[in-house]
Symmetry: C2
Subunit: 471 residues, 2 copies
């Protein structure tokens, strides 16, 4: 609970209207896009400048009040839920696209800027900001930075981290630091820029970012390959890359996902197929893109594809992409609660991972649909369920614990792009070990000695015990 004095001090910093603690505001900010996690904050604050952020943090640090930064709240790890109370700091008043610098190929942005808006602004100039998380229509760049958001283009273009080259950030002490710059090379000290990217609001609040841009690829071709056997699809993925072709998108949908997507969208997906690969290539030259697609088609058939469809125009391409882009929202329709995970494995192990997911789903008597970024091994096993069914939810939890364990045993990780946050904190130790956890906690203390930045996230009070799985 905040005292009246504190509320007065906060209001003085941001103005009367920009601090709220009415029940509606608190409830509206008690949850994010993650199912089944909710907690009431003590207040919601809307700063408009780095100086205001600094004043707020200084005050909260003195009074040991938790601060939880928030963009659009579209994260899937409970990353912006105020589990220990405190203040939700919403960055949507700091949403300016400050500058696009065409000779240095950079964009300077405030954290509240909408991802899609940035895409459109740079694309209008023939430029390109590759990270395209599923939530990009609503998400903010600040949120993308804090979660190191990925997306469909990760294989060829990398993730948010690869494009953040400079930051302005406010430390819990209120100090404002600047890292990097409009620089492709900078080795002056430790790389605080990349450390802050993906730090999930646990170290500092980002108030400005310099992003690297690329020239936009001029041509794009989209295709779909259908398989009666999921192993053929998995082998195709390895073979494409093995043939030294890196597609801009290389996505995977399994049969349960195909059925659900087709049922809702009626785009003509074949219900009898075990797996679909959705493949896109882009580039600066039409012939090169066409050649890559031709080679990919050959590889698909060699590996046993039953059918291959190539989009003949942009409309057809959009229709094919819809199959993948709508997967989550469509799956979310079928039952009240949708648990979406992002266990990730080396690309060569995706067939093994899907086999494991299906075995585990069967063991726990659950429906798990799997789709995701096959090209970079980042799969999204998704379980449509019902939060009110206690027994089933318990089985879902057990199943996902086994899925995380399987991913790690295959050389993978518990989260490829969604973040640890609240929901995966009990499993972090499985990936990074006790020494890794202790080291990360020390890094956290270096930034935030009083533990006010998004407390309760990333590090669990108790790590979950790992069950040795018979396989």
């Amino acid at each position: 609970m905040l005292t009246e004095v504190t509320v007065g001090q906060l209001r003085k910093i941001v103005g009367e209207a920009n601090f709220r603690n009415d029940p509606e505001s608190l409830i509206a900010h008690s949850y994010d896009a993650t199912p089944m996690v909710q907690a009431l904050p003590d207040g919601v604050i809307y700063p408009s400048s780095a100086e205001q952020v600094s004043a707020i943090l200084r005050l909260c640090n003195e009074q040991r009040i938790p601060v939880i930064g928030r963009g659009a709240g579209s994260n899937l790890c409970g990353g912006t839920v105020a589990v220990e109370g405190g203040i939700i700091m919403v960055m949507n008043r700091m949403n300016k696209l400050i500058e696009i610098d065409q000779s240095n190929l950079t964009a300077t942005v405030q954290p509240g800027l909408n991802t899609k808006e940035l895409h459109m602004a740079v694309e209008a100039l023939g430029l390109f900001y590759p990270p395209d998380p599923g939530s990009m229509v609503v998400s903010t760049i600040g949120g993308n930075i804090m979660e190191n958001a990925g997306g469909l283009r990760g294989l060829k273009y990398g993730t948010t981290k690869d494009y953040v080259i400079g930051l302005e950030a406010v430390l819990p002490s209120g100090e404002i630091i600047r890292t990097g710059g409009k620089l492709y090379k900078d080795v002056a000290g430790y790389d605080l820029t990349k450390l802050l990217v993906g730090s999930e609001g646990t170290l500092a609040i980002v108030t400005e970012a310099i992003l690297k841009l690329l020239p936009a690829p001029k041509y794009k071709k989209t295709m779909l390959a259908m398989y009666k056997d999921i192993n053929q699809a998995a082998r195709t993925v390895s073979q494409i890359v093995g043939n030294r072709i890196i597609p801009s998108t290389l996505e995977f949908l399994d049969n349960p996902t195909i059925r659900v997507v087709e049922d809702f969208n009626k785009i003509g997906l074949p219900l009898d197929m075990d797996a679909i690969l959705l493949i896109e290539q882009d580039g600066g030259d039409e012939t090169v893109v066409a050649n890559d697609i031709e080679q990919i088609i050959r590889i698909c058939y060699e590996e046993g594809a039953a059918e291959v469809k190539v989009a003949q125009n942009a409309q057809e391409a959009d229709k094919l992409m819809l199959a993948r882009r709508s997967a989550l929202s469509t799956l979310a329709r079928i039952r009240p609660t949708t648990i979406l995970e992002d266990a990730t494995v080396p690309r060569s192990r995706i067939a093994d991972m899907v086999t494991e997911i299906n075995r585990i789903a069967k063991k726990y008597n659950l429906e798990i649909c799997t789709f995701g970024h096959a090209g970079d091994g980042n799969l999204h096993p998704t379980c449509p369920t019902d939060a009110r069914n206690e027994d089933e939810i318990h089985r879902v939890e057990e199943a996902f614990a086994e899925i995380f364990d399987a991913a790690i045993q295959l050389g993978g990780t518990i989260t490829g792009e969604h973040g640890v946050g609240l929901v995966k904190a009990p499993y972090l130790e499985w990936k990074v070990g006790t020494a890794g956890i202790e080291l990360m906690k020390s890094v956290k203390r270096a930034f935030d000695p009083n533990g006010i930045m998004n407390p309760g996230k990333m590090f669990a009070k108790q790590s979950r015990k790992r069950v040795v799985v018979q396989r």
Copy 2:
């Protein structure tokens, strides 16, 4: 000084022959490639496994003995000089290329592996590891990782950091941690991988690394553009990128450098030119590469190039590249001491930076030759001088301090790829601020509470006072 007991303990860990403290060994490891910095270590140790590294660090941590990791000692920042004594840990027994994984496009290596050797091994398979520091013929991957080595391909392909996706590292406590994996996406906790890259041996010893590889570009074209006015060359750089072309190499040589290089190499460089750009484009398609080069030629002439030469074959290309690759070694011939710096600015500011360098050289009555990676703003102002001439060396120091200051005022940094080490530590605060320094020191303490890892590097006992420069 090490006690006899400690020496015995160290010999027990690595075997009699792999610890040395004879005067020859100590002197041979008292310096690296950096001029004018030298200090005798107390011993030199050659571990052959992570377990040995762990045992050594645990012992040294208990006894507060400094440990300085060393690859080939080719760094240019005094990074491996034992300024506070202690043990030089040479990684050259751990020099295996453990695996090239062709379906995941990764190489797993030990830190002592030679950079050029890795290049050749992956290129033989049609793969590509882009980072190509000037020292790559002698340097090791471990050294490249610790310094975040750059090179000529930074503009298009990034630096070492962009290719390190997993590490095994030993903490000063002796704990062995593993970060990342054969994974393009991994957000499980803070990004310790990228934090360790560029940490200059001050946090941990890397004992294994997983590197990301690319398919090798099949075609390459090399050209040279010559300018009577350096500003035309600088504008060309901005225009090429402004036209949405990212060459694989975009290098710059100023007139003093041209003269010295031509004098020694006799490759037909024009002595009356103010500046030369050396440009290379690569790619998967011959026509695309040729088109890019054609457009670049047009831009060069539009911006006022006096002459453009395109290499007609690989031999001619090698000859043109020699002009750039030999710049440092040739400059090093003309006087006994060569001070090479790497002040870096946003690409759009390179003309301003070269103007500043020339003004400063004149002010201090020095010869400063400038060459470097124009495409990413990473310039190498180089001063041939003589360490025995105290007055001149003092002027060199003053001049470089002004050059660092100018770089920062132009939005740049004190070091783009060489590292802070010993020689740039007094200037780090100019780039990152007092809060930045304090934060980095806390991060250091999180890894190395007893301060045994490469002490005296990165953080200076006293930051240099910044002189307000009249301009």
